[in-house]
């Protein structure tokens, strides 16, 4: 499969780089590398440039840690948004999901992960320091924890409550329940219990 010895070194190196990307197995990495070999110089140059441009021009917003070209980011500099509410998400992609729902006009904060001590991810590896600074600066009345409803997501929300609660800010959690399309009979107890707790009048 790896063809060690037979594969020229530059190709092996490219395969290796692709293999490091999330979701790319050894077979796909090989396919991508040989694809690059076949494309024209222009196309290869364009890809290389796009990769470098992203690294050169995109940075983390100094306020909310969202990925942005301008600091502060578009969300943070939008005067029409409600500055008293901060919605905390695991990753930058989650913001687009919340924006798409159209139901939120406050600010955001990206943690870039969740607590996972088993894999060595502690609070200092997440953007809690920046979040704490924002709350300490004042003006924030509510922090909505929109981490995923996994055990790690829950623990991350609890940690935020523990960290920010004493500052007098309201820390809330997205209502959890059954994902639409889920069968009740297959729901686990914890999900069912939360769905019941989070029930609303119809």
């Amino acid at each position: 499969m790896s063809g060690s010895g037979g594969t020229p070194e530059p190709i092996a190196r490219l395969v290796e780089q692709f293999h490091r990307l999330p979701g790319i197995g050894p077979k796909s990495a090989q396919r991508l590398a040989y694809h690059i070999l076949r494309v024209g110089d222009d196309e290869a140059q364009a890809l290389a440039n796009a990769v470098l441009e992203v690294k050169r021009r995109i940075r983390l917003c100094s306020v909310c840690c969202y990925i942005t070209e301008h600091d502060p980011c578009n969300y943070c500099s939008d005067e029409r948004r409600d500055r008293s509410v901060v919605c905390v998400v695991e990753q930058a992609l989650d913001i687009s999901a919340i924006e798409r729902s159209g139901g939120y006009r406050g600010l955001y904060h990206v943690l870039h992960g969740v607590l996972n001590p088993m894999d060595g991810v502690g609070p200092e590896d997440l953007r809690f320091r920046e979040l704490l600074a924002r709350v300490q600066d004042g003006g924030v009345q509510e922090v909505i924890m929109a981490t995923n409803p996994s055990l790690e997501g829950e623990a991350t929300a609890m940690y935020a409550a523990k960290l920010l609660g004493p500052l007098g800010v309201r820390v809330t959690r997205l209502a959890r329940g059954l994902p639409s399309g889920a069968d009740l009979e297959y729901a686990d107890d914890v999900t069912l219990l939360r769905a019941l707790e989070g029930r609303q009048a119809v």
Binding site: L115, P117, Q136, K162, A182
Partner: protein, 263 residues
């Protein structure tokens, strides 16, 4: 390459998850029958997956599995016992994560260890039931060491076997337990344990978990045990555990937030 696909049933406590690809995860499970084993769950990160919630670290579940070429595959999962009070309390969750990591680090795959399974199950149950969150892990550390071949010798000097008078006594991981005054120079680094701490440790060896956590142990003694048993764990695993560091950080951040509240 013949692809023999045979299904089988098993159960166990989920120790950890590792995400792969777009929607799959690999889970490490510790079972009574099979010991530690791994399997892949396809599509488990999709909202519609029927296994979601049943296959999460810190749940005791029953599985239907299919033999795979490299990894076996989880095809069904059903929770037998979850620990909701642990999941709802940050300190207990951190402590439980530490116990899970200890089991993961102290075991090898496919080596059943029923006593260790029962110890883990009982410890999680105890944490869930509201037992002293600082005593459960101390009992667990002492017994996980004993059950995996790193017994802490407490009945005499670990080096010469001599009797120990009731006084502050050195405990050294390299020596394997308590060490008498004469043997101290060769014992390697360690720390002095007070007489009450030694008594509590000896009691932990004989008592059941419920008996042990019912004890009222002074905070200073618990601290001694935490430090000493932590030495043994680090010595045998040759590493600092991420979960242990997290438990530590929570204790520290507790005082930080308390300070912030004043300002």
């Amino acid at each position: 390459m013949s692809r023999e696909s045979r299904a089988y049933r098993t159960e166990g406590i989920v120790l950890r998850r590792r995400n792969i690809g777009e929607a799959d995860s690999i889970f490490v499970v510790f079972g009574e029958e099979r010991g530690k084993f791994e399997g892949v769950a396809r599509g488990i990160r999709k909202a519609r997956s029927r296994m979601r919630g049943h296959l999460e670290p810190l749940t005791f579940s029953r599985f239907l599995m299919a033999r795979g070429r490299n990894l076996d595959v989880f095809t069904q999962a059903e929770t037998v016992r979850s620990f909701p009070n642990v999941a709802a309390d940050l300190d207990r969750w951190a402590t439980a994560s530490y116990l899970l990591e200890l089991v993961d680090r102290f075991t090898v795959e496919h080596a059943p260890n029923r006593d260790l399974f029962h110890l883990l199950y009982a410890s999680l149950e105890s944490l869930d039931g509201g037992s002293a969150a600082d005593l459960v892990p101390r009992y667990f550390e002492l017994h996980v060491l004993a059950l995996t071949g790193f017994d802490v010798y407490l009945d005499g000097c670990a080096a010469c076997g001599g009797r120990l008078p009731p006084e502050n006594t050195l405990v050294a991981a390299a020596a394997g337990g308590l060490v008498c005054r004469q043997c101290r120079p060769e014992a390697g680094t360690g720390r002095l344990l007070s007489v009450p701490a030694i008594k509590v440790l000896r009691h932990a060896r004989r008592a059941s978990l419920p008996e042990f956590v019912a004890l009222r142990v002074p905070g200073a003694v618990v601290e001694e045990l935490r430090a000493a048993l932590g030495d043994f764990v680090r010595y045998h695993l040759e590493r600092e555990l991420g979960t242990a560091r997290f438990v530590e950080e929570l204790r520290a951040s507790g005082s930080i937030t308390a300070q912030n509240a004043d300002t």
